[in-house]
């Protein structure tokens, strides 16, 4: 008993005598070991947002409403045999100037059969597509811009090729922007920030064939 007590006393004395640097090394080793057990120090995955919730993308606020599969729906036109995946959302531009890149507001991720090239979204590795068309539901006209201070309900169209599987859920990305200096030109502008992209999981309703919206 006295022997055990003697070892314990020496151990306590040894621990108490450790330098700050040693304590730092020990703490680092513990953090690495524990984080390694739970998948390392990678960023925790954020679960997708649900439709109906407003998402702040920096340069806009977006509320995604619904996603439908539809046939030809004016004013957009389809290649024969294809069909549309249409996502409706309310978009409010929060910058001080008209936003002219409407195809960069919402994108579609990991949906097989989407026509066209994938989009390279920085900080995001998924298979991403920009919409083919953006339509203002007020007046049903194609638009390439929205103005500040005027939130509008907008439909985003993606063309799907024949035989593509019917998705039960669309993984819609609300793209985020940050107002900062461009590292190449030093101009202060809205720069895409892929790391702050918000995913919205939207159930898809099949309304083919028909008008859709």
């Amino acid at each position: 008993m006295a022997r055990i007590s003697g070892v314990g006393t020496r151990a306590v004395g040894h621990v108490a005598g450790l330098t700050v640097q040693r304590w730092g090394l020990i703490a680092g080793a513990v953090v690495l070991a524990v984080s390694g057990l739970f998948g390392g120090l990678k960023e925790a995955e954020v679960p997708p947002t649900q439709p109906g919730k407003e998402v702040d993308g920096g340069s806009w606020k977006v509320t995604v409403h619904e996603a439908v599969l539809a046939g030809e729906t004016k004013p957009a036109f389809l290649t024969k045999g294809n069909h549309f995946l249409i996502v409706t959302a309310t978009v409010e531009i929060t910058t001080e100037e008209t936003w002219t890149l409407m195809r960069n507001v919402l994108m579609l991720a990991n949906t097989p059969g989407v026509k066209g090239q994938t989009y390279n979204l920085l900080g995001y590795s998924d298979n991403v597509h920009q919409p083919d068309e953006v339509v203002l539901l007020r007046g049903r006209t194609k638009i390439g811009q929205l103005h500040p201070g005027m939130p509008e309900k907008v439909a985003f169209f993606w063309e799907l090729e024949p035989g593509s599987p019917t998705p039960a859920e669309a993984k819609v990305l609300v793209i985020a922007h940050e107002y900062r200096a461009d590292s190449l030109t030093a101009r202060v502008t809205w720069m895409q920030d892929g790391a702050k992209t918000t995913e919205v999981a939207v159930p898809v309703t099949d309304k083919r064939p028909g008008a859709g919206l």
Partner: protein, 198 residues
């Protein structure tokens, strides 16, 4: 006869302190230069040419005159009526290029809150969307159409040749004479089509 020298440790201290002071002074000077040097957006800002309705404003590569201003709740274009949650501002302008052919690719209204509203793409506007090539010496008139929110007022209208880049360009900046409490034409208004003036 030699001058008395300070002790060695003091010499070393003064030498090191002097170097540190020089570094601090250099950093301070650099900070001052950065603070008082205009950034890229300021140093390459457009050259605004102020004007009033009815006045010919010279923008070096083109001359522009604001002829008439009106507002509306609904605009008709190509047979389609376009409603808005805000209101429409229609500016009849006359443009004549100087020296060589040009397009007008950019038009925007700036309001008193510092916001800017580009010419609407809901209606066809060949004069200000860059699709109409203008020839020198041949004046062209049309109405430019803007959609603005209800709380927007105190406008100036700006026009540029390039659709994307207005840096270091001469840009007309014309006061839009809309008084307080905008009166809206409740009937659908059709914008004046583009006409070549004699």
């Amino acid at each position: 006869m030699t001058q008395p020298q300070p002790p060695g440790f003091l010499r070393r201290f003064l030498k090191r302190a002097g170097s540190t002071l020089l570094v601090i002074a250099a950093l301070g000077l650099g900070n001052l230069l950065i603070t008082f040097t205009p950034d890229v957006d300021t140093s390459e800002r457009p050259f605004l040419r102020s004007g009033e309705q009815g006045e010919v404003v010279d923008a070096r590569t083109f001359k522009l005159t604001l002829l008439k201003t009106r507002t509306a709740a609904v605009v008709t274009s190509e047979g389609v009526q376009h409603e808005t949650q805000g209101y429409w501002v229609l500016l009849r302008i006359r443009v004549e290029t100087v020296g060589e052919p040009h397009t007008i690719g950019w038009a925007a209204l700036f309001d008193s809150k510092g916001r800017s509203f580009r010419a609407s793409d809901r209606v066809k506007q060949p004069l200000v969307d860059g699709s109409r090539m203008l020839q020198p010496g041949i004046a062209v008139e049309a109405e430019a159409v803007f959609e603005v929110p209800r709380d927007a007022d105190g406008f100036t209208a700006r026009f540029g040749a390039s659709r994307f880049d207005q840096t270091m360009q001469a840009i007309p900046d014309i006061t839009v004479p809309l008084g307080e409490g905008v009166w809206l034409d409740r009937d659908a208004v059709t914008p004046d089509a583009l006409v070549v003036m004699p």
